[in-house]
């Protein structure tokens, strides 16, 4: 009965079965090994720590399909479709092993009841798979959402078409084979749908011999197709099913926004300019990309018209790896095309604001930002190539210790303390709590107002704190984000020494970039302090009753989540709680909010580096988001965001219609008048 037990052209079915399997599996393994060897072209990287934690996460996320389901939104149900397909094929995979392997290859018959039951499960799974494929086809070829917009190469078009076709055909073959089997051999019990098909075949009046012969044929076709799919999988470029679980396993476990220092052994070529400069994990990312395009649809640079698409970078690099890989494995010294220039353009490298929306949106944990930063490091540290606006800012960092050009700042670092009763640390002084102001808060007129508000708030709450005044230099974030790593390192080491010399234990800062750098990146250089953003600090003060915000705001406000505070460091609730504790505050949310908040455009060095000419400005887009809420005020907790909104409001000429405030300014205004009189 089993097709395998028959003899074909003198050969027993078993032999043919296993021979085909051996060939297919062999070819599969060979290709898989080749892909593995390509990964080995990359540098080493420590990702085998905390294996237990990694394994549990990966297994739970993949089997529950949370990786796909987390992307589901009202307008984007594709994640649900993927989950159905995954589970469907999961059952099928087991089913194939049982049906083809156990029953076919090993000749062990299954108990009929069990087989009917399992087949029924597969019958339903197949329906779900077919439904999911139909919806996917409609989405891809008819609806065409933004995230799927791409200039697909012929190869990719063929792959996608084959993928959909194969899935449908396999499902059809399942039903067909099943119906034929149950009809030809009159078996019972029968599976739900298979049984119905069998009945209709029987009533169609085909002879058992015909049915059995057709069944055998279908069985072998199904088997060969499966083996074909097995062989094709690693040879196609659609590699994510094979590699993305591994990518999730090897995901980064450190703070999201912390960049790694340049390795100390590196002496000549910094950053990445060729494939071998990447680590193996960064190369694994290239296989794992599912082509979904959610990073593309979330990227502020892309949405404002820049030539940067996070997905394009990943997929172009994958092509580059597959093209150049064979040669490099054979010992070829140079690839035939340049990574920077041919595969990834310099414009794209510089357009990134490091907002992290791409990383947040990615279902399989591809690391885009780190890659772009590595490319930037190569441009700046090895090739000395950067936009002039970047160079001017970095030279300022180097000679003046801050990124703001001298004559434009019109003030000196310590000037903001004039007329305020703040303790400025002198040599030899110590303090437990340091209020770290940041360059923008000390040097740019508009932001100094927020700094002064913050000072008054701290004093009213009776906090014993000190500031560094003119001894404060930049935390180094703009240098690091612009790729100028060694300058960053020097500044970090200098600042850590300063903190240690004053015996600082706790640092409160107004700037999320400083917050991220001091908290998550300074430990790389021996800095170990308790770093808090002021929204967290003020929140605590309110909870402790040290601050009473009794003055009503009387306003409809919306809160803009700074990327480095919200998405990267998870601080969403604290600023909102502060706003909601102020009476008569009507807090509304923008459509893109919290972890999906749209960048203001100021990160990644872009407060100074000019945006690509001829494109929309990112801050204008975010301003539109705010205007759509109907709010009278936008509140934020980052000096860059504040600047970007102010600039946007002025450019659009809507100064009367919308006001932007730093949260510190709002808190100061909400403090009771009798208390605030005593401060400053």
């Amino acid at each position: 009965m089993s097709p395998v037990s028959a003899t074909y052209w003198g050969l027993p079915g078993y032999i043919i079965f296993w021979a085909l399997f051996a060939i297919a599996f062999g070819v599969f393994l060979r290709r898989f090994y080749f892909l593995y060897r390509l990964l080995r072209l990359g540098k080493s990287e420590r990702r085998f720590d905390r294996i237990g934690q990694r394994a549990i996460f990966m297994l739970s996320v993949v089997s529950s399909q949370w990786c796909a389901l987390k992307t589901v939104g009202l307008t984007d149900l594709a994640g649900l479709g993927h989950a159905l397909m995954f589970w469907g094929f999961g059952f099928f995979l087991i089913g194939y092993v049982i049906i083809f392997g156990v029953d076919g290859g090993l000749g062990l018959s299954l108990p009929p009841a069990f087989e009917a039951l399992y087949r029924s499960i597969l019958d339903i799974a197949a329906l779900l798979v077919i439904a999911a494929v139909i919806v996917a086809v409609i989405k891809r070829y008819i609806v065409k959402p933004k995230r799927l917009e791409r200039e697909e190469s012929r190869k990719e078009k063929v792959i996608m078409a084959l993928l959909f076709t194969t899935m449908i055909v396999l499902m059809a073959l399942h039903y067909g084979t099943e119906g034929l089997k149950y009809s030809a051999y009159n078996l019972s019990p029968s599976p739900i749908i298979g049984g119905l098909l069998a009945n209709s075949l029987t009533s169609a009046g085909m002879s058992p011999a015909t049915l059995s012969a057709t069944y055998t044929a279908f069985w072998w076709i199904n088997y060969v197709m499966l083996l074909g799919a097995l062989v094709y999988a690693p040879h196609s470029e659609h590699l994510h099913p094979l590699f993305s679980p591994a990518n999730i396993f090897f995901r980064p476990l450190g703070p999201k926004a912390a960049l790694e220092p340049v390795p100390a052994e590196e002496t000549e070529n910094f950053g990445v300019s060729k494939l071998q400069d990447f680590t193996w994990k960064q190369l694994l990312d290239l296989y794992s990309c599912t082509w979904c395009g959610r990073c593309h649809a979330a990227c502020p640079a892309q949405l404002s018209g820049k030539s940067l698409s996070p997905r394009e970078i990943i997929l172009n690099l994958k092509e580059h790896l597959l093209e150049e890989g064979p040669g490099l494995l054979n010992g070829k010294a140079e690839p035939s095309s340049n990574m920077i220039g041919d595969v990834v353009t310099e414009d794209a490298i510089w357009a990134c604001t490091t907002c992290g929306a791409c990383i947040e949106a990615c279902a399989v944990k591809v690391e885009h930002v780190r890659r772009i930063m590595d490319l930037r490091r190569n441009l700046v540290l090895t090739q000395n190539k950067m936009p002039e606006t970047a160079q001017l800012m970095l030279r300022n960092m180097q000679s003046r210790g801050h990124p703001w050009a001298g004559i434009q700042s019109l003030r000196l670092r310590g000037d903001w303390t004039d007329g305020l009763d703040v303790k400025v640390l002198a040599d030899g002084d110590t303090a437990d709590t340091l209020f770290w102001v940041g360059c923008t808060g000390a040097l740019v007129e508009r932001n100094v107002k927020a700094t002064i508000s913050m000072t008054r708030v701290l004093k009213t709450a009776g906090v014993d704190f000190a500031v560094l005044g003119e001894a404060e230099t930049c935390c180094g974030d703009p240098a690091r984000r612009a790729g100028y790593e060694f300058q960053f390192q020097m500044m970090a080491e200098q600042n850590i020494e300063t903190f240690k010399s004053h015996n600082i234990k706790e640092i409160v800062t107004s700037c999320p970039h400083c917050y991220n750098t001091l908290k998550n990146e300074y430990p790389q250089y021996g800095g170990d302090f308790n770093v808090v953003h002021y929204t967290q600090f003020i929140g605590k003060l309110i909870a402790q009753g040290k601050l009473k915000l009794a003055n009503g705001l009387n306003s409809r406000v919306t809160y803009h989540d700074p990327c480095y505070l919200g998405r990267y460091n998870g601080v969403y609730q604290e600023p909102r709680q502060i706003l909601q504790s102020i009476p008569q505050t009507n807090l509304v949310e923008m459509a893109r909010t919290r972890n999906k908040a749209f960048c203001c455009g100021g990160g990644g060095g872009h407060m100074w580096i000019e945006e690509q000419s001829g494109t929309t400005k990112i801050n204008q887009m975010r301003l539109d988001d705010a205007l759509k809420t109907g709010a009278e005020q936008v509140v934020t907790a980052c000096p860059y965001c504040l600047q970007m909104f102010e600039e946007g409001i002025e450019h659009k000429g809507i100064k009367g219609a919308l006001k932007v405030q730093d949260l510190a300014e709002i808190v100061e205004a909400a403090m009771q008048p009798s208390e605030s009189k005593g401060a400053a």
Partner: protein
């Protein structure tokens, strides 16, 4: 090619004018607190010119600076950009020297360094801005000088220099050894990259005093100075600026146009 670059550390030229203060008694500028001094803009261009020549023709670059102990930073900056080593000329006798005195000290230091093919200076210092030291130095050394260079190309024993004049350029050929003063039109200087930045920071810059370079006390004596400053003042400028407003930028522009058409 063996190049010597003379660099000077100056008060940051980009401090806000309101912060600029002088002491009329001592005739000195009072640097505002917390503002680090910087390398003179044109001297940085001179280092860049030296580095470009070294990129093409190999060779050695030595940076020298006459200044306070802080001036070691500008020598380190030169090393970070590409100079091979540097020396700081620091001595109480070197303080407040005029252009001649400065050129003399630099000449003695160059004499001590030995052989060279090219001396590069900025066209003028970003603080006192006289633009004399380079040419005087060349006269003391007895070598030809080309000023206001905006491009230098090397070829064997001769340099091809593009020089800035008010209505265009001149191209000159200068035999080595010679001295060239460099202007900012040479282009933006390279950002000190990678490990050079760290290496330069750690380097200890040797200090040469007057006796190390054999400078005669008579030449450094202030009584024998060629020029001296008898007065230093901050000119007061007060204009009442009439701000022309309008409901929109375009309206303000139209109002301004009407104002101007009455004037011209």
């Amino acid at each position: 090619m063996n190049t010597i670059v003379c660099v000077k550390q100056v008060l940051d030229p980009e401090i806000p004018p309101a912060k600029f203060k002088i002491d009329p008694e001592t005739k000195q500028v009072i640097p505002p607190p917390g503002v680090p001094p910087v390398i003179s803009v044109y001297d940085e261009r001179a280092i860049e010119a030296a580095c470009r020549l070294k990129d093409k023709h190999k060779g050695k670059i030595t940076a020298i600076s006459m200044g306070t102990e802080k001036a070691a930073d500008v020598i380190k900056h030169a090393i970070a950009m590409g100079a091979d080593d540097g020396f700081l000329l620091q001595d109480p006798a070197f303080e407040n020297l005029d252009s001649f005195g400065t050129a003399y000290v630099l000449a003695k230091a160059i004499q001590k360094l030995g052989e060279y093919d090219l001396v590069l200076c900025g066209r003028q210092a970003a603080d006192w801005g006289a633009g004399e030291v380079g040419s005087i130095l060349a006269e003391i050394l007895g070598i030809p000088v080309v000023t206001f260079a905006c491009d230098i190309q090397g070829a064997d024993k001769t340099l091809r220099v593009k020089r800035l004049v008010s209505d265009g350029f001149e191209v000159l050929e200068a035999p080595m050894p010679c001295l060239i003063t460099v202007s900012s039109e040479i282009g933006l200087p390279r950002l000190p990259a990678g490990p050079r930045l760290m290496m330069a920071r750690k380097k200890v810059i040797p200090v040469w005093k007057a006796q190390d370079i054999g400078a005669e006390p008579a030449k450094l004596d202030k009584a024998n100075a060629h020029t001296e400053v008898t007065a230093l003042s901050v000119p007061t400028r007060k204009t009442e600026c009439e701000i022309i407003a309008g409901a929109t930028p375009e309206e303000a522009a139209a109002n301004l146009a009407m104002k101007l058409s009455k004037l011209i």
